[in-house]
């Protein structure tokens, strides 16, 4: 900078400079109390510029601020549930002792940090999970250090309750007996990830210090990680050689079905911990209100998918979702619910259950994809009036296909391996 330029800096700085300006946030909060209260009591707003396909799950579910957190939770839950119950084969096992040892643990505690990027939006979340084969699951979910949700899934009651302190609301979902039976049979949690690490082709990371503990690590990369949750992922597993228990796992990769990307870190493990049954009883303060009515969650199945498509067609006047991926379903739900709400022809409880039903159609589709049943869906071109057109089809067995028509009639036919021309 030359001397003449310095002169301009000095002149302008002296004439208009305003050094020492400080923002007093505490005072500002007092002066804008109404805005602050509104901010603190309302959920994430999904009322965006324009609803468009492929926008964030969190933004495009529906325009109702009160309902959206709950429905987002339901949607994510159902989609994960779809992945949850995917049966998968096991391959050759290395570190077999570790996989078996961890697999036999019934009760444990752990922390999870997630960073998910979906449709350009990043969501960071921290969770404290208390997992018990006997009692169920409890997860306390935080965003930016703030408790957002407590999720209780009581194994004996077949019920999931989500408590949302900010909104002073809760959601109650009832699981069908089939759902609970499957849940008891297989749970997608850190134990499954350990099995993935120990069965994948891995490389040694040697010794290191992680979370203050001397550990030994392995690194793995493969497709179809976490029962299909990740399409492709890289991960590191660190184990304490003294106790032989996992200390930390980190997985980073592409989520299945183009849902986005996720970094997942699981740590703070307490294996074989004695967990109190009382931790699994939802604590719902008296002034909290139930959001909608109690919803029923069934295993993703043909029936739940057909019901979801039927509900969608009833709301839309005969059309079906253009796609059944999580992005498509969330975007379609957003448009549909906003439209139904604008017309005032649907109440909140009804809306929530319908959103759940429609989401379950997506859950079954994801299940088919991850089970490699090659589902093909033509919702973009087929309507409820097209009784002679194929709406969806997938491999149902050796040489067999299930076919769903526009009027939701379903039949099993021989797989002639022909492309559809519709």
């Amino acid at each position: 900078m030359n001397s003449k330029n310095r002169k301009l800096d000095e002149l302008a700085g002296r004439a208009i400079g305003r050094s020492g300006l400080q923002f007093d946030f505490e005072r500002w909060k007092k002066e804008h109390g109404d805005d602050v209260r509104e901010f603190e009591t309302s959920g994430p707003d999904i009322e965006g510029p324009e609803q468009k396909r492929g926008t964030s799950v969190w933004r495009s579910i529906m325009r109702n601020r009160v309902l959206q957190v709950g429905v987002a939770a339901v949607l994510v839950f159902v989609v994960l549930a779809g992945l949850h119950f995917v049966e998968k084969g096991t391959t050759s096992v290395a570190w077999a002792e570790l996989g078996q040892r961890v697999g036999s643990v019934r009760d444990f505690v752990f922390k999870v940090s997630t960073k998910a990027t979906m449709s350009g939006q990043t969501i960071n979340m921290e969770m404290y999970a208390y997992q018990s084969a006997q009692h169920g699951i409890r997860m306390d979910m935080y965003q930016a250090g703030r408790l957002q949700m407590m999720v209780y899934m009581a194994a004996d009651k077949g019920e999931m309750v989500t408590v949302m302190p900010d909104a002073k609301q809760y959601i109650r979902m009832k699981m069908t007996p089939e759902y609970m039976a499957q849940w008891q049979k297989r749970q997608q949690d850190p134990r499954d990830f350990v099995k993935w690490f120990t069965s994948a082709e891995y490389t040694s990371l040697g010794r290191s210090v992680v979370d203050g503990i001397e550990v030994e690590g392995i690194e793995a990369r493969s497709a179809n990680v976490g029962g299909g949750m990740f399409e492709q992922a890289d991960g590191q597993l660190w184990v304490d050689p003294v106790t032989q228990w996992p200390v930390r796992m980190e997985i980073k990769g592409r989520l299945a079905l183009g849902m986005g990307e996720m970094e997942l870190a699981m740590y703070g493990f307490e294996w074989d911990k004695v967990l109190e049954p009382s931790w699994y009883a939802p604590v719902i303060p008296e002034d909290y209100k139930q959001q909608g009515s109690t919803m029923t969650v069934a295993m993703p199945s043909e029936e739940t998918m057909l019901q979801g498509l039927k509900v969608f067609a009833e709301l839309s006047g005969g059309t079906y979702p253009a796609g059944l991926s999580i992005a498509d379903i969330s975007a379609e739900l957003g448009k549909l619910m906003a439209s139904a709400q604008l017309q005032g022809d649907i109440d909140k409880s009804e809306m929530q259950q319908k959103a759940m039903d429609i989401s379950q159609a997506g859950g079954f589709y994801i299940k088919l994809v991850t089970e490699k049943k090659n589902p093909e869906y033509f919702g973009k071109d087929v309507t409820a009036a097209d009784a002679d057109k194929v709406l969806m089809r997938w491999k149902s067995g050796e040489g067999k296909m299930k076919v769903v028509y526009g009027d939701l009639a379903i039949e099993e036919v021989d797989d002639v391996n022909e492309p559809l021309s519709q």
Binding site: L11, I16, R18, H32, D35, E40, G120, T122, E250
Partner: protein, 182 residues
């Protein structure tokens, strides 16, 4: 390894604020207060009103932050709100009292000789140049921060500042400050 909570980038703070974290919103306000005061000052020509505009900007921001699209830059979004707030305040002020240009340039008893002329020269600049100059000199904002507020890159902010400085230097030359090269 995942980033720790205390080591958050601005983008993470924006996401946290969108998720309902008031502390993150407060931190963002603190980061942008000076810049918003400068933007307000460039339109209102009054320091106190400029600070009021900055505070009202945050009030509008907290009501709308959840609508902020992921592709939008927070600083530029905030500055756009601040310009609107400041224009509203300026219009309201014009309606209540007809002010002369001199009234909008309060002299300060302890100020240096020529400061008033320099401010007059700054007000002669076009809106964009004036805002750029004020962002730089009102509270010595870095060019990187200027870029965030203007919604442009650091180097583009640097180029814009240079051009605004050249125009200001020419006006100051007319005011008898001699030749000031940039």
């Amino acid at each position: 390894m995942l980033m720790q909570v205390d080591d958050r980038t601005e983008m993470q703070m924006v996401e946290a604020a969108k998720g309902g974290c008031l502390e993150s919103f407060g931190e963002l306000c603190s980061r942008y207060y000076n810049a918003m005061a400068a933007v307000g000052y460039s339109l209102l020509r009054d320091r106190q009103l400029a600070e009021d505009a900055a505070q009202e900007t945050f009030a509008r921001a907290i009501r709308n932050i959840r609508k902020l699209d992921g592709s939008q830059k927070f600083g530029a979004w905030l500055a756009a709100i601040c310009r609107n707030v400041s224009k509203d305040m300026r219009d309201a002020r014009k309606r209540t009292v007809e002010l002369k240009a001199e009234d909008l340039l309060p002299a300060e008893s302890t100020e240096d000789v020529g400061a008033s002329e320099i401010r007059k020269a700054i007000w002669e600049l076009g809106d964009e140049d004036r805002e750029t100059i004020l962002l730089r000199y009102y509270n010595e904002l870095s060019q990187e921060k200027m870029g965030e507020v203007l919604g442009i890159s650091r180097s583009a902010a640097n180029r814009r500042l240079k051009k605004a400085q050249e125009r200001l230097a020419r006006i100051l030359g007319r005011y008898g400050f001699g030749e000031i090269e940039i």
